[in-house]
């Protein structure tokens, strides 16, 4: 074809998204009509715009038809059932012929999928996945802040928490925790363990019960009161021995 050609980007779009055989015939048909529309009374812009509308507008009907019929090869008179296999073979052949392009496509896909996965993982953990406690939607976390200093949020001081517990009637119950660590000692070695100091209602607020032994009592809120072991520590340091309940560590 001589003279101006249709917009390169639109042709590229068609070439990429409508495989042969229908893609080849479609591009030839559109170029035939485009040449007609290039006549002076219509103008280049109008012809370009028409080509773009056709290029974009053909994608939905052709892909819908492709899904209905099971392949692009029907357009060549071939059997529809071999469609997706032929498409796959054709795609692999193209990728082999242009390894740099294939690498770029794979890299783009990898970065895109990786970024999506990372973002979704964060969203799932923060917004979508509920906390692993019964009636988790009734749990709220309370903070203390001093707007005269800054907007930072802090856990309350023990006395402020005691005031909240006494004066705030909006919650069924309240609990507080303080992350710290403790030293587990035996005759042979000592080990630093992550731990938390909690108020006596902590597990009742969360709605969970210990698998072995009992929950804390209100009068036991003292610095060296009873401890509750995590399942992992119980298995690792005590071999999962149930008789550890009630002993001093």
């Amino acid at each position: 074809m001589s003279g101006p050609r249709p917009p390169a980007l639109a042709r590229l779009l068609l070439r990429a998204l409508v495989p042969d055989p229908p893609g080849r015939d479609l591009r030839a048909d559109l170029e035939e009509e485009y040449a007609e529309r290039l006549r002076p009374e219509r103008g280049r812009w109008a012809a370009d715009l028409w080509y773009w509308r056709q290029a974009v507008g053909c994608l939905v009907p052709l892909w819908r038809r492709r899904l209905e019929s099971g392949g692009w090869r029907r357009w060549e008179g071939g059997p529809g059932l071999a469609g997706w296999k032929a498409d796959l073979r054709g795609a692999l052949r193209r990728l082999r012929r242009a390894p740099a392009f294939a690498g770029l496509v794979i890299l783009t896909l990898a970065v895109g999928i990786g970024a999506n996965t990372a973002i979704f993982s964060v969203l799932r953990g923060v917004l979508i996945r509920p906390l692993p406690y019964p009636e988790a939607d009734r749990l709220v976390r309370l903070w203390e802040t001093n707007p005269e200093v800054d907007d930072a949020r802090h856990g309350p001081s023990p006395l402020n928490f005691a005031d909240w517990e006494r004066s705030v009637g909006s919650f069924e119950s309240m609990a507080a925790w303080y992350l710290t660590s403790g030293t587990y000692r035996t005759e042979a070695w000592a080990e630093e363990l992550r731990s938390a100091q909690v108020t006596s209602d902590f597990f009742r607020v969360l709605g969970v019960r210990p698998a072995l032994g009992r929950d804390f009592r209100r009068e036991e809120v003292v610095r060296y009161g009873p401890v509750m072991l995590s399942h992992r520590v119980w298995r690792r340091l005590f071999g999962g021995d149930p008789s550890v309940v009630g002993t001093t560590i």
Binding site: E32, E33, G57, R64, R65, R74
Partner: protein, 115 residues
């Protein structure tokens, strides 16, 4: 209802365009014919998809023309309406007529030459 189901509105237009164009019916001429007579811009992709579907249903058939055209170097594919396609069109017209019966005094469209 016919044995192979009702014709879609666009399928009906394409079959009618094939009948009107006769031996010169191929994708580009079909698209132009429908566009000229309906006054709406028609997507070439929709024409391709519909011609293919009509052929699969047995309402139309195609053959490759002689020689090749500039651009792709491939011959054009010409289409014709099969007997089943004519029957489907007749059924569609009959159903449409039955639906219009008794809808008077709805104003009848003026019959014009081009649109």
């Amino acid at each position: 209802m016919g044995k192979t189901g009702a014709l879609g509105a666009f399928e009906e237009l394409v079959l009618l365009a094939l009948l009107r164009l006769g031996e010169t019916a191929y994708s580009v001429s079909v698209r132009r014919e429908i566009e000229d007579r309906t006054g709406s811009e028609i997507s070439m992709g929709a024409v391709y998809a519909t011609l293919d579907r009509l052929e699969e249903k047995g309402y139309a058939s195609s053959r490759l023309g002689d020689g090749s055209r500039s651009g792709s170097g491939r011959p054009r594919r010409f289409y014709a309406v099969e007997e089943e396609g004519r029957e489907a069109l007749a059924r569609s017209r009959e159903v449409r007529g039955r639906m219009w019966d008794g809808v008077e005094p709805f104003p009848a469209p003026e019959r014009g030459g081009g649109s």
